[in-house]
Symmetry: C2
Subunit: 161 residues, 2 copies
């Protein structure tokens, strides 16, 4: 298959306490309550209007330190290999990150959003922000494959903190 | 703010019944039960291993027909303007689509996934696939801003079909 490459221009920067690849919390419970700041390019400021009414957003960003990918992955909380697209491994053909974060405060005049539960590396380039609308999403009757037997372990860790 | 542009290479193509921009279902209930096929580049086939155990995936794709953006948007189900990043409008600085779809069947040998609830235009370039793990996500104590007063209208439409 041959495709045209796609060019995106970051719309801002994500500031977090995670300075290098080694310290990134691949485990979801490790991002819990960690604070970060989205510094939006001021020219996109108007796009933040009314965002203060939302508690959560999806943040789509570029995982700028990732240089390769692996189609088979042994996740941190399992001992078996699984196909990449069933995992949250950052080593993907297109290293696009998708994180659901909590909004702490929208500082409209500075084009900034203070966020919680960050799991991205400091200075990750921001690509997009989308509203989190859980009432559109299924919650029951969802099958999660090999995560099923790790689910309780992960949730326990999340609520331990 | 000045950033390096980011280059991605599509990993496949999404086939859907929506042939042009005009027919895209911007309303979430319009994609319900609509079938599509993800045609993954066969070189990434191994990344699909174990996917048949999952009922849903996030599909991240390029909205290839979008040529501009608007920072203020009047959504289909509201009469007021809102900031772009509180909406699902496709006219974004980086036209990255994020759809949650149901898996109908994984055809591993052909590197294909038959999916349901598609809302993308035919031949949208695929950028990434991620597992949907709702037990990580909050469902209660979520505030959805201006969507709050449209929520019931939208849900009613979704279940009417």
């Amino acid at each position: 298959m041959e495709f045209e490459p796609i060019l995106y221009h970051p719309i801002g920067l994500i500031r977090t306490p995670f300075k290098g690849q080694a310290r990134v919390p691949f485990q979801p419970w490790m991002g819990k309550d960690i604070e970060g700041v989205i510094e939006l390019d001021p020219k996109f400021k108007d796009g933040l209007k009314d965002l203060e009414g939302f508690s959560h957003i999806y943040v789509i960003f570029h995982m700028h330190l990732i240089k390769d990918y692996s189609l088979m992955v042994t996740p941190a909380w399992d001992s078996k290999e699984h196909g990449l697209f069933t995992t949250r491994s950052p080593r993907r053909p297109n290293p696009i990150g998708l994180s659901l974060v909590r909004i702490k405060r929208v500082i409209f005049d500075e084009a900034k959003i203070e966020i919680l539960d960050v799991d991205m590396i400091d200075k990750s380039p921001l690509l997009d922000i989308k509203p989190y609308l859980p009432f559109f999403n299924p919650f029951e009757d969802v099958r999660v494959g090999w995560f099923e037997h790790c689910k309780d372990k992960i949730l326990k860790k999340m609520f331990e903190k």
